[in-house]
């Protein structure tokens, strides 16, 4: 990678100050995306502001209505958290499927959401549950957060501090992972909320990253069972087509993963 300057922030305010004081900075959380990207010279920030150790960005608190996860909490921590497993087990399962054990020891939820990789898992969980993303400046609802491939509505220098997930009545996450990269070729998060609302968020399959599938939500609202999706035709127009799979292949995967998620919920 190109040379850079690494700063270890003392707290959130210090992190923001270090960021704005640099000519071209990036926040460095777990680094499981940023470091590889820099090694390939696809990113070359002049300064790295290290935040993954900050106590203010750590911690998981679970209640009856909300589970709040600090932005620098690792995937391994979420996957093994009693608070998450008790309130939203589907979220713990989602975190446990990210990357591999070593990657999960460093990768963070804040980093995953801020990066918005179109095949990342957390965007499906956040959109599927209608999460609220807290930053050092404001709160952003999941509906207003994801803007497309690797793009979010975070402003320059804005730092995610924690993410609040509404607790569903029931939820499940099913992922068809690319056998080599482990990224989602289709990852479907299905949630039945306390008020009866059904939310279905899909990652890995769409051209613009994570999206909610209204057709699947509508079918399941009418009839809550996997068979309700049998006749559904998933629109291939917006599906991603690449060397790993065609749009038609992904559209089918979306349906299969959605059916498995519904079956898992019961």
């Amino acid at each position: 990678m190109y040379e850079t300057q690494y700063h270890r922030a003392k707290d959130v305010a210090d992190a923001a100050a270090l960021f704005s004081g640099a000519s071209d900075a990036s926040y460095l959380a777990g680094g499981q995306t940023l470091i590889p990207t820099m090694k390939q010279r696809l990113a070359a920030p002049s300064d790295l502001v290290g935040i993954t150790h900050l106590a203010d960005l750590k911690g998981i608190s679970g209640g009856k209505e909300m589970v709040t996860i600090g932005a620098a909490v690792t995937h391994a921590e979420v996957a093994t958290s009693d608070a998450v497993k008790n309130a939203i087990p589907a979220l713990a399962v989602l975190a446990s499927k990210i990357g591999d054990p070593a990657v999960r020891h460093r990768g963070t939820i804040g980093g995953s959401l801020a990066n918005n990789d179109p095949a990342a898992d957390y965007p499906a969980g956040a959109l599927g549950l209608g999460a609220i993303i807290h930053t050092d400046k404001r709160t952003i609802g999941a509906e207003d957060f994801f803007q497309g491939l690797f793009s979010t509505t975070l402003e320059e220098g804005e730092l995610i501090t924690k993410i609040a997930f509404p607790v569903p009545a029931k939820a499940a996450y099913m992922k068809f992972a690319n056998p080599a990269s482990r990224y989602a070729m289709a990852g479907v998060f299905v949630a039945r909320m306390g008020d009866g609302n059904i939310r279905v968020a899909v990652t890995g399959a769409g051209q613009q990253g994570v999206f909610r599938s209204e057709p699947i939500e509508k079918a399941l609202s009418t009839s809550w069972n996997a068979e309700a999706l049998d006749e559904l035709a998933i629109d291939t127009e917006m599906m991603l087509s690449d060397l790993h799979g065609s749009a038609e292949y992904r559209a089918n995967l979306v349906k299969v993963m959605a059916k498995r998620a519904v079956a898992a919920i019961g």
């Binding site: 990678m1 190109y2 040379e3 850079t4 300057q5 690494y6 270890r8 460095l28 680094g31 499981q32 470091i35 590889p36 820099m38 090694k39 790295l48 290290g50 993954t52 391994a76 990357g99 591999d100 054990p101 070593a102 990657v103 020891h105 460093r106 080599a180 990269s181 482990r182």
Partner: protein, 154 residues
């Protein structure tokens, strides 16, 4: 440039490196602990796995500076006074390696696996936990056996 200080295999070290230096580079080039390997450099193969503060991480995907103040354990730090760690012994006795390139990473991942999941590991669990470690020689068969055996001995 920055000065990075940490504990490596129980010894305090302090090294001047460029900020962009990866942890694996510091270990291999500055400290000459070449048991940790660079296999793919794309964070997939796990040949670079070491323990940082008790957790298996890919040292090619971490800046040395990020490990400031941490405790690092490499493959060289596993043996106790010349006596092989039970996981190392298990790899030896179960023919869990051929060329040996992936082996340090496999062993460090295996030790971490046991620390998290205990000593009784079924085959499916071991294979799942090895998703971040690639081997081109063995077909994994004896690696899995070695890990199950080593886990039981730990």
């Amino acid at each position: 440039m920055t000065t990075v200080s940490m504990q490596v295999n129980g010894k305090a070290v302090s090294v001047d490196v460029e900020d962009r230096t990866l942890l694996v580079q510091l270990l291999r080039e500055n400290l000459e602990l070449t048991g940790t390997h660079v296999g793919c450099d794309t964070s997939q193969c796990g040949a670079c796995v070491v323990h940082v503060d008790g957790k298996a991480i890919k040292s090619c995907t971490m800046l040395a500076a990020e490990a400031e103040g941490s405790e690092v354990l490499t493959i060289e730090g596993l043996a106790d006074n010349g006596e092989l760690h039970p996981m190392q012994a298990a790899f030896h006795e179960n023919h869990g390696l051929q060329c040996g390139f992936c082996t340090p990473g496999m062993i460090m991942t295996a030790v971490d696996m046991v620390q998290r999941l205990g000593g009784t590991l079924d085959e499916a669990t071991v294979r799942h936990e090895l998703e971040g470690n690639l081997c081109r020689c063995t077909g994994y068969h004896n690696i899995v056996k070695a890990i199950q055996d080593g886990a039981a001995r730990m």
